[in-house]
């Protein structure tokens, strides 16, 4: 998939990705020549088709996690299927001593299916550490979802 700016005859560069949380995806591309922007909008079916390929529009910002497709897609998965998804790990910081979780963020994390909670928490924790963020809040989670393309997380 490539987007070509016809007047400039240049490939448009990926600029940003947004995941509103309703299964849709917005990806913004910019022409390096004229600066014109365009947005790719996908409906939930199209978003699911792309995620089923295990790829991310705009490229990967975090390395693929082991079995991330199954873990994020299986609706009938057991909460304790993976050692890092055990419910009791939800209250422990992903990176002890470096990142705190606000009460609101913990509450939101608790709504993530237990099957994937450990993996999601680790990803948010690594996101915060890499950016020097001391506390994970719902706003940080929203930004991470957009930046990392964490559909449905």
């Amino acid at each position: 998939m490539k987007f070509l700016c016809v007047p400039c005859d240049q490939v448009m560069a990926f600029a940003e990705r947004e995941l509103p949380g309703d299964g849709t995806l917005t990806a913004v591309f910019t022409c390096p020549g004229c600066g014109r922007e365009m947005a790719l909008l996908t409906n939930p079916m199209e978003t699911r088709l792309v995620s089923g390929l295990g790829i991310e529009i705009g490229g990967r910002t975090v390395p693929a996690q082991p079995m991330e497709l199954v873990r994020s897609s299986l609706a009938t998965g057991g909460g304790a299927a993976f050692a890092d998804a055990a419910p009791e790990t939800a209250d422990r910081p992903a990176t002890p001593g470096t990142v705190a979780w606000s009460d609101d963020a913990r509450e939101r994390l608790a709504n993530v299916p237990a099957f994937v909670r450990g993996m999601v928490k680790r990803i948010y924790g690594e996101y915060a550490v890499e950016r020097g963020i001391a506390e994970i809040t719902p706003q940080v989670m929203d930004q991470a979802r957009t930046d990392l393309g964490l559909e449905g997380m």
Binding site: M1, K2, F3, L4, V6, D9, V11, M12, A13, F14, G23, A27, F29, N43, P44, M45, T47, R48, L49, G52, L53, G54, I55, E56, I57, G58, G59, R60, A64, P66, M67, E68, L69, V70, S72, S73, L74, A75, T76, G77, G78, G79, A80, A81, F82, A83, D84, A85, A86, F115, G118, M119, G152
Partner: protein, 292 residues
């Protein structure tokens, strides 16, 4: 004047998302994982209900019983049964730096199956899905899940990886497209006339995929009466040979019907370990010997 816009292949820039590179990475990851495997052996069938998974479980167990390091991957995403047949318990799977640690089955077989990930024994494999269009993305998702079951599991070095395929010749084509290599394929069937076209279709798909070794495993060929010890054919007595000839395949095994095969294997005790002297077990052990 007609405006001409460059086509995909005329634009060398891969684009910011570089989807081909991401797909290439997936393939590399799978190839690297399988590079540690001596032989990749698939067990498939043209249609369901012929005992394919029981054959896969027993072949894996028989190979492990010979002292080989064996992995068993359940490619039957929607009908997983391999973990149960190999006695692997559902318990949290460790997530290590190299991937998901497989479960431990009988005789030390390493097992990975959707079975191990479900919330309960009776839970169906159901995906989080948008309200519409499941027919569009479901097949893609299943292939992705199969790729992860093979590539994201820390199998370690294996002598043999046994892959239990989902039934259907179309699934065979899907997995041969996914796997960088498949060393052998055992096609399981009952020796019935009704299976003739199904087996021929699968054999053709296997040949076209370039699989080096393909053989027929005729299951439930005959039944031995426990009272008089006489053997009775359950299908045409020459059915297996007729199937093999019409499909152009060698017969690798003829497994007689034995209630213990299903009963023991379903209980997590593959018959090759539980009743190794039985005729069914002997046939399965000999079949496994081909892949050692």
């Amino acid at each position: 004047m007609t405006r001409r816009v460059r086509s995909y292949h005329e634009v060398a820039d891969p684009g910011a998302e570089d989807i081909l590179a991401q797909v290439g990475d997936q393939g590399r990851r799978l190839a690297e994982r399988l590079a540690q495997v001596g032989r990749v052996v698939a067990v498939g069938s043209g249609k369901g209900g012929v005992g394919k998974s029981a054959v896969a479980a027993n072949v894996a167990a028989a190979l492990a019983a010979r002292g080989l390091r064996v992995g068993a991957a359940d490619g039957d995403i929607h009908g997983p049964s391999l973990a149960r047949m190999l006695g692997a318990e559902r318990r949290p799977l460790a997530v290590g730096a190299d991937g998901i640690e497989p479960a431990a089955g009988v005789a030390g077989v390493f097992v990975m199956s959707m079975d191990l990930l479900l919330e309960s024994d009776d839970a169906p494999v159901r995906w989080r899905e948008p309200a519409m269009g499941g027919f569009v993305w479901q097949s893609t998702l299943e292939t992705g899940a199969l790729r992860e079951l093979l590539a994201d599991v820390a199998w370690g070095p294996l002598d043999v990886l046994v892959v239990d395929l989902p039934p259907g010749s179309d699934k065979l084509e899907r997995i041969t497209g996914l796997l960088p290599r498949l060393d052998a394929l055992a096609l399981v069937t009952t020796p019935s006339e009704a299976a003739r076209s199904v087996v021929a279709r699968s054999a053709r798909a296997a040949r076209e995929a370039g699989i080096a070794e393909v053989g027929l495993v005729a299951n439930m060929t005959a039944w031995r009466c426990p009272s008089c010890n006489a053997e009775h054919a359950l299908y045409d007595a020459d059915g297996a040979r007729a199937l093999a000839e019409s499909a152009g395949l060698p017969i690798w095994a003829e497994i007689p019907f034995d209630p213990r095969l299903a009963a023991e294997t379903d209980a997590g005790r593959p018959v090759v370990l539980a009743e190794p002297a039985s005729a069914a077990a002997r046939a399965l052990i000999a079949l496994a010997g081909r892949f050692a």
